[in-house]
Symmetry: C2
Subunit: 349 residues, 2 copies
Amino acid sequence: MSTQKTFTLAVVGGDGIGPEVTTEALKVLDAVSAVHGVTFERTEYDLGARRWHATGETLPDAELEEIRKHDAILLGAVGDPTVPSGVLERGLLLKLRFALDHYVNLRPSKIYPSVGSPLANPGEVDFVVVREGTEGPYVGNGGALRVGTPAEIATEVSVNTAYGVQRVVRDAFARAQARPRKKLTLVHKNNVLVHAGHLWKRTVDAVATEFPDIAVDYLHVDAATIFLVTDPARFDVIVTDNLFGDIITDLAAAISGGIGLAASGNINPDRTAPSMFEPVHGSAPDIAGQQKADPTAAILSTALLCDHLGLTEAAAAIEAAVTADIEERSGAARSTAEIGDAIAKRAAG
Amino acid sequence: MSTQKTFTLAVVGGDGIGPEVTTEALKVLDAVSAVHGVTFERTEYDLGARRWHATGETLPDAELEEIRKHDAILLGAVGDPTVPSGVLERGLLLKLRFALDHYVNLRPSKIYPSVGSPLANPGEVDFVVVREGTEGPYVGNGGALRVGTPAEIATEVSVNTAYGVQRVVRDAFARAQARPRKKLTLVHKNNVLVHAGHLWKRTVDAVATEFPDIAVDYLHVDAATIFLVTDPARFDVIVTDNLFGDIITDLAAAISGGIGLAASGNINPDRTAPSMFEPVHGSAPDIAGQQKADPTAAILSTALLCDHLGLTEAAAAIEAAVTADIEERSGAARSTAEIGDAIAKRAAG
Ligand SMILES: CC(C)[C@H](C(=O)O)[C@@H](O)C(=O)O
Ligand SMILES: CC(C)[C@H](C(=O)O)[C@@H](O)C(=O)O
């Protein structure tokens, strides 16, 4: 339990539906804070497509340093079709994840009984993916030569270090230890990406000796996608690389109630910088500004945020409110704000 | 239509269930050949785990050169838990794909009405993935430093060239052109892997001008996995990189009747070397030698083989036999050989 009463929160609504869902997330956070006697002092940062069009900036270093001073960050979504692909993703979202050393990208997946799954028989799904957040093919190494000519060559370099793999693997084992099923699955592709894959495998085998009661297994990423649709209930904690984690967590979200419910935390477990919480979904520009987006994933991300700050009761209240809301969902469409209102009311009650 | 009557076939049963399913595939191929007046002269190559344990060899260059002289290759599966991960995959399977310039890795997905899908409402699924086969993260570039120490660093380099991307993209467009729906989806991750991703995107945009009646769209690989479970019927031809293709074709197989039905062709469209046909599934060592494996994927791979050799009637006969067999499948378990016998009988009939 935290004794801190006032927390500073940097808010980056971002692009597309990002600002809308963030508004609802903050509504719920405020409602819960009032009840639990804490305050979030918010600073909004105007970052994303609008800012880039206006100034050419994605995330100036001075602003990054300001954001760094906060207790946590709430982010909506990043990316817009009017901006060349990668500019905002690399220049804003990934810059935050890397600069603030968010090496644990935490993505829980759970099937709520009342929410439909595209799977005929999903079973009881309740697992968490621990996606590495600061290495792998996301490091931005690589480049291109003779661009636009028939002799063009483009490379992408996946960088993996014992330092980086060990710390995320140890975090994943600790999470498995705290869960009833005590199971950890490493997902990689060590039969092809032998250098990185063997580093991951050896690291998991070594750390496993520190956690003798955790059952460990390994799946190639291609096989993991099969099990995610044929037997997702087999998973408890999955630990994986940055890119494989990106891919399988979207799939995991899709099979368990949809991307509208998938929350995530970009965690710096050492607390040397603020952690950042965001829905797994993208900016969905096609429905932006129409109050059509489901804010539930953004709202659930504030539960992860509270949890990280030691506000366990507030986190539980948000989760309970979301669960209750989801259970009563009918086919009737509600606006983004209506969903936020309903959950905020429950969370405060 | 081919006028050639005798074809040479190199057969690599490989590991695990590979030899069993290959036996059935050959049974069906022989049955069909007899009817259609062609002959396959087979040479078996003892490659895989057994050979490696006995001699330390994976694929000696001299044997590769012998295999190269054939009209086509039929492969079962490669990989065994008694061999360090990657040794057989890189040293045998990928060596064949790269040396024989199999730049089109063709993987069709179709839902047979009578076969269950793990999806509640899959819709009418009938698409083909054109997976690049000779570049990307599969090239084997990269390495490791200070292995086994806390200072270890391991890299994997994805190499992409205009030459390599253009030829596979053009092949994919031509396939889309020959299909009724005339749709092509590029799957990549160009918001993060910007160098490779932009090369792919620019190439698709450029080649698209040569195929004005093909509708083109783009999906990030993470989003593609969502659509593969929520709306797989939207896909017609998917073109993608080697690693993304590996991942999404296992998922595609899983949602459409399972990995037991997924066939593939490693195609050299320029015919400068023999193409190679294999089931998408792996060696499944846990059920090897027990006559439990479903040989259908291997059998369907011989249909792709016949098609590639211009034996379109033989290909159609195999596909029809498989479709008829699948339609009559009940819950009753049949042995690998029983399935092969039943399909061979139909194919010859
Ligand atoms: C927007 C994109 C850069 C990001 C990623 O690839 O990590 C997103 O897909 C995610 O999963 O958070
Ligand atoms: C066995 C392995 C090297 C191979 C691959 O990754 O290409 C397999 O998964 C496949 O899809 O054919």
